[in-house]
Amino acid sequence: MSSEKGQRPVDQDLAKEFGLTAEEYGNVLSIMGRTPSLTELGIFSVMWSEHCSYKSSRVWLKTLPTTAPWVIHGPGENAGVVDIGQGLAAIFKMESHNHPSFIEPYQGAATGVGGILRDVFTMGARPVANLNALRFGSPENPQTRRIVDGVVRGVGGYGNCVGVPTVGGEINFHPSYDGNPLVNAMTVGIARQDRIFLSAAAGVGNPVIYVGSKTGRDGIHGATMSSSEFDEDALAKRPTVQVGDPFVEKLLIEACLELMATDAIVAIQDMGAAGLTSSSVEMAGKGGVGIDLDLDAVPQRERGMTAYEMMLSESQERMLIVIRPDRTDVARAIFEKWELDFAVIGHLTETGHIVVRHQGRVEADIPLDPLADQAPIYRRPTAPAPVPAPLGPLTDPVGIEQALIRLIGCPDLASRAWVWNQYDSTVGGQTVKRPGGADAAIVKIEDTSLGLALTTDCTPRYCRADARLGGAQAVAEAWRNIVATGARPLAVTDNLNFGSPEKPEVMGQFVAAIEGMGEACRALDFPVVSGNVSLYNETRAPDGSSVSILPTPAIGGLGVLEDVAKAVGLAMPADCTLVLVG
């Protein structure tokens, strides 16, 4: 791909293909004071993509409540961190992998699980539970079966192999997801509060090390693609699909946790979207230092990779670590023990620039501050979304028995056992309430009396009827599901899945949903500590128009039980009385 592009001059046309607007490209030119190289253009385009920069959502996300006495780290780190007592912290986040799951359902879902796991263990937590919130098209659509099958296998295939129990989730069906399923994966991990690892780089001269799998030409431009509308064109342009390797991820978890038990790490970050680019830019940027990378040292899976390709590759199961120089050998020994790649690929500098060298040439030299500070922020126009017509009176009274049978049989309410029976929910030996066992899954914290209550919730039809109430309702439902188990709700993560932000009515839904969520979170003292935004979830209708998905602000809730033995489930003992409250 780059060999063709390499021959093309970098100009506004190319910038447009990379997803930058004319104005954004103008800013690139003024920051650089010259025409950027291809690699530099690639770095700007991914850092300023919707996916990495949150340019359409940032102003609204800021309105969410994010603090409470028990919040240790809110949004801004790889995952949210809350105090659960006894010196321990729960670290959790939810993330989407919607577009990749449409292209290749198995690998899309699998790598989604892999990505969110890395966000959590990169902070020092051992992952103890996975959840997943899935939305598929109409069951009548012939594509739906294939996508459901691939996604469910992919979630299980990855989670089962890494040995993290999948303990809960939710599934809905609606035609608006026909060409755009939603795959939102959530991971929860546990760490000691005094052993939490952050991503801000520090210490000029400190080595930057690369660990995990080798870099290939996987998913180049995935980040910019996940921020653009999805259509036939995108299918044709698709990058090499990323294939997940859960076996390597398992080794990476063990190796990182082993290294984290030493004092070697200064900062650590997983390579997620736009791998090497976003991890190095963010780590150096947050730490206010510069970073020099030598791409010749990057472990490579394929021959002849260019700087552009290496910087934008989304190969999975890789991490970037800033390390104390005198601990490099300790670290190397640990990664060799786990049979993972390990390479020193650069060091921190005082230049405030990211400098990328390859085969004796400087392929990129970008000042980090303006790259971050001048990232676009949009306050896009909003308009009220059309309110669906009221449902009208019941015209076909079928009698209560038939109604019940229909309800139980409908795709949105039918048993999900066929799904959760493909997920290993007991590995780890700490699962107190498995899927279907309680309103929220309950996982015991090993060697303590503590338990976590975990749930994901959202009712997209409510959000379409009234995005504000729908957003509030999703939060309230997560809170109720946690309370119903006897746990104390602590905090939420979210995954805001919406259509194109360039449609004012979609932006209207987005803003209203956030307002509703914010209100509910404030009222319940249930702050948002991490999350993810997925926009441009659109499919092409037969008439050529673009249809947005139902607004889907998925909420992942977490609560704590001081005494996990007191957790309450759904099973009704024979000799009990039924009471209705509320």
Binding site: L251, W420, T426
Partner: protein
């Protein structure tokens, strides 16, 4: 009883197994690294569940060749006791320490659910805490648990009483053709087998995940209690 758990790259139920063993022995089992070439002084070697080497190629195939397995084989030849659960069972068949092989589940899907096992004999260290015909509940979680062997091997196993456990209904009835009770399609509903000397036992389900009422029951505990009773020195 001194127990040790072998850890391969990709093993992921070693912690569950350690908890179960600690519960009955009162002390933590030794964790043994796949690259070691010797075993410490042990009464029981456990091959735990998981996805050794990702279960790539065939489940257990690559682990069967790990350096530690030569030591495990010597341990077996010297009459040592070995328990292989799930991936551990697959590894034992791949090394030839137990007969047969485990194919993809009949429904071609990973199955994570509770099943019921019927105890086929109780004069072994693994089963002495049960009565013959007892049924206990246990979780299972695997994609390749469909036990198969050639006819001669199956006959030999049956004739010599080397079937340890069979998938059964809660009332003890076995129906190999019924997917409800024999979910992975195993020949004769075989869920676990013994070696000829009855000192090696491999099984697919996970008794180690049901040893605590908090996790839903203690149905798997007799296996570990029996081992302690039999192997205590």
């Amino acid at each position: 009883m001194k127990a040790g758990i072998v850890v391969f790259p990709g093993t992921n139920r070693e912690r569950d197994m350690a908890i179960a063993l600690r519960g009955v022995t009162g002390r933590a089992p030794a964790m043994i690294w796949h690259r070691d070439t010797d075993l410490p002084d042990l009464d029981l070697v456990v091959l735990a569940g998981g996805f050794s080497y990702g279960d790539y190629l065939r489940c257990g195939a690559m682990a069967a060749h790990a350096p530690i397995m030569a030591a495990v084989r010597r341990f077996a030849e010297a009459g040592g006791h070995i328990l292989g659960v799930c991936n551990g069972f697959q590894i034992l068949t791949e090394t030839g320490l137990l007969p047969g092989a485990l194919l993809r589940n009949a429904a071609l899907r990973f199955l994570s659910q509770d099943c019921h096992l019927r105890v086929e004999r109780n004069d072994t260290p693994f089963t002495r805490r049960w009565q013959v015909g007892d049924v206990f509940r246990t979780p299972m979680a695997h994609g390749d648990g469909n036990y198969i062997a050639d006819d001669a091997t199956i006959h030999a196993l049956e004739d010599e009483g080397r079937v340890a456990f069979r998938y059964a209904r809660p009332d003890g009835r076995v129906d190999a053709g019924d997917r409800q009770t024999n979910p992975n399609g195993s020949v004769n509903a075989i869920a676990g087998v013994f070696s000829a000397n009855l000192r090696i036992c491999g099984m697919m389900p996970h008794p180690e995940d049901l040893v605590d009422p908090l996790m839903g029951g203690e149905d798997g505990k007799p296996l570990f209690e029996g081992l302690v009773e039999a192997l205590v020195r």
